[in-house]
Symmetry: D5
């Protein structure tokens, strides 16, 4: 069983059980639904305990449980700019603001990068009379280029 | 003069004048340095008034002033994943979390996207004893797919 | 079951039942066949009610009905310019007129885009003695770049 | 002088003369600004008379006049999906609705294509209290696949 | 059943029956084998009558018959230059003579294209003592760019 | 001087002298304008005598004359499907009919290819009351795969 | 059965029978193992007699025998530079020496190509005290560009 | 001065001096014209002595002499399959015979590669009444995968 | 059975047996786990003896054993930059330091390459109070370009 | 002045002054030549002091000095696998061993990556009677995926 097959199975079971990602995350005691959803979509791994709860909730088996705790080969998108409009907008932000982020982060912090590994993220609904907004907060450790 | 040539000229003049992007943004009275820097890097346009101040600050001419107020052909990066490590990390976030963002935003808001046009962003330093962090806050209007 | 498999199933059932897309759209009470056809081809979602009617009409099952109401991962074409001549002609229009559309829309409306989300479209036959014509009318909300 | 250099020259002269594309189209007596703008951006050709007026209006020379009346090598965009958000939205429409257009046009007209050559297009502002809209009307001759 | 699966089935049945493409074309009463072969390879559609004869000749079923009369999603080659030497030579002709065809056709006919839809083609053996030759005759309607 | 620069020079001189490709071909005594035009566009070479006549006709110099007689690095189009509509239609013919040509040529001749080197081509106007047609006749030697 | 499936079957049967490519070539009486191996890997065709012997040797069936005598769609490698180190070295030779081969062959023979169809090749072990060498000898007919 | 500019200069000087690659190789005392031509085309380096002779022969300067002795960044072809027909035929050989070479070399020598660095090559004219042939002999050291 | 299928089987069996790569390498008596793991992931071959032990350890069959001793078609990654963050960092090192490695190795050794075939590698944990480090040591034979 | 132009200038001045990269690194007091060479090739930045010494050593000016201290847009290679054989071998190592590195590092350290930012590297000559070897030692901090 590949991780892609497991992701498809999870989506099928979730559909049959009429669960939301948030309900699954909450059922397994996860603080934030982002990491759990990413794991269920094949991009992160779960702890043994979390995997056991997912398996019970969705009616999966032993191999699925085991696979959920393995580090996956990450990358949720096909090569080239993503075709889905929601995901493309994030790609567009990188295209339009990429060099600006580089200029301002390195002006503020010096030479280095914002870590995508020591990284945290929240997503929330921001009520607005002109139309609610999606608010995303990211926080990544600044890693300076070292000299040895 | 192309917009790329103007961006190169601005970078050269900024270097000669030993200015930072924040100083330029502040000198032209911009609330946030992000939009100004993006405009100076050829991704946004300035108002007539802002362009006039940039031209004076950096010692540019009339064509430069005029070009700074035009809508640019956006896209700051070459085709393919960005080779610069700082910018690549943002590309990686889209690769790893793209399907998760889609799953959670559409679960919360229904079918639609987060606008990258009616969009706002801040970037700030988050002090941390284990190493300071880059904090980015994005807020984009949710646009539902309409039926007519 | 993936959405691609569902699309293939729908095409097979439609063929067996000798139905047209317009007949299916009409049978489920859709005002315009465009959104319905796009949904059946895996690019839009149906309401619960519409999905139920499609399922009955084509003899599908519960999982199909449920999947039809989910937001799909959009993108109906393989990477690269489309190889099918009918679809390629639209790609060609973007290639030839893309910069013209940008120049004229932004001259008229200022900096921003025509939304592809808050968007409506009709397609009709335009009788013409020299050969009938395909008439397509698009209307998308103009979204200005905002400053916050 | 390449056509790309001519396009850049025209953009520079237009900027210096503070003209809009509509003003140029109107000055040369063109019915619709679309074809004229496309020609000035290197995608169509002008008649001798139109080219002469453009040359006078923008202060160009003989080679420019001659080049404006030649059929260009068409294609206004770099390879790959366009990076500019306004133009990308049209690319996205092809991605999302391409197979739907094919299904409905061929259901209505039989096997063939909508011509992108025997083709007409208008663009107009559609006032709307919730935000004005861009309205685009396309009309292309249906060309059936022939049997000889 | 996808059209690709149907093409594979037809090739398998043709092999089992030891038929040539010309024999199949002749058996179904087609004037030229080109269109028939293209249809059997998934690039054109057959009339109901032709499809019925193919189905009988090759021992296929109802779904196959029906699918053969549908307009296919055209494109017989993978992305990128074709790897098969025979087909690559045609790709090479476009690479080497493409700009020449454009220069001479537009010099003779004005601005427009040679239709690939209102198009006819023959292929024949041209005996030659130095080695027989493949002779291909193409005829496509010239379609001028129209002004409306 | 690169061959691309020479091609651009030739196009500029031809424009200034108001010559057609056919007139140039005729002035240098070429039987068919195809090879001459291909050479002037950087895809074939001319004989010393032909090059001398071109140089005189267009007012070029010694290096140009010499370069015109050298074998060029062939390839008149950028990577990827050609963006120009006239040239794209030929690309489309290869896409749609490529496997058909392979099937029929190899059925008739056995395993091998149609040469694109020992190759001849004519292009002519075919008058037609429904609209004149472009007629292209190609003849390439069949080259069988040899066994040694 | 596709040709790729046949190739996989042959590799599986060869493995089970513990045969080498040379043994198979020799068993079917082929002069050189290159053409036979290429055919078994789906790039060439066998004669009826050779195919019959392969079928007997490897325990295959009728469809396999028939398919082995058909001209395949050639191309043994995925798009892009080959990832396998042994095959990549040949790709590297083309990258490094391609323009040199062109310069020297056309200087010696005039304008034309070395045929890859009327082509012969041997591969042999060249004993060497510093390490044995792979010796490859290629011989292809020079095909001059013809003028008609 | 880049190496590409030097290559262009050498081609221009060679043209002006009406020299062949073989004459240049012979004038500088090179045993085989292949390495010398490859160096002059920017793919190999010359010894100090050879570079001095080239500089004198072609009337170049000190920087050219120095640059000719540096190891170049190798790669004589643009990305993607080469568009020039002569060079493409070699690419085609890799496409068609790549897996065969791998199968036979590794069957004969074990796991490893044919070196493209410890490598030698000759090219010669092979007279043949049916048309002369290009004969290429390659010899590369076999490098076995080592275990440490 | 393809090598990719075998790799998937091995990963599934390893998961079921709760083994680590190091335990497998140790069980079959391999000095270093790198080569063994690479072989189990389809990039190297095992000796007959090693393969037999793997087969026993993981409960595989005869075809698996045989396939494990064959030279694979190497290449463990899809085309384009790797999407997995851990592997991408190595790709990034090549992007950032590639030209530096070339400059320094060729300055030290002369013209040639570091062999990736006659090559050895270790990987170890380097304890560090600020966070443990991954230490990788590579040693490849320098292969000079030879002149024959 | 772009960073690419500066790199070219540095290479030209280094050639004229007959300096090696090691001599430059040593002249500016750098501990290891790797970072210095990377900076001079446009991939790292120098300190003010180091830049001043480079400027003096190579006879550069103020803008060059300033540019050398700026963080560059990193990426020393064109898109696609590198064509230069020395650099390609490193790309090949990633292709062949990428999944092995991932398997073993994550088995040893848990989920995370080896940093390419908090990273150190040495390169040295390893004398060997069978041919000297290139020894590369890399050490990168392991960064675990964090949970917040």
């Amino acid at each position: 069983m590949t991780r892609e097959e497991l992701t498809l199975t999870i989506q099928t079971r979730k559909r049959a059980e009429k669960l939301t990602w948030k309900q699954i995350a909450s059922a397994i005691g996860a603080a934030s639904p982002i990491l759990t959803t990413a794991a269920l979509l094949g991009q992160m791994r779960l702890t043994d305990d979390e995997a056991a709860k997912v398996v019970e909730l969705l009616g999966l088996g032993d191999e699925e449980r085991s696979l959920l705790t393995e580090v996956p080969y990450r990358g949720s998108l096909a090569a080239g700019p993503p075709t889905d409009p929601l995901i493309y907008r994030f790609h567009e932000l990188v295209q339009v603001y990429g060099t600006t982020w580089k200029a301002l982060i390195q002006e503020e912090f010096g030479d280095g990068i914002m870590s995508a590994i020591d990284f945290d993220m929240q997503m929330e609904r921001q009520p607005d009379p002109k139309g609610d907004r999606v608010k995303i907060t990211m926080s990544g450790k600044f890693l300076p280029y070292k000299r040895y």
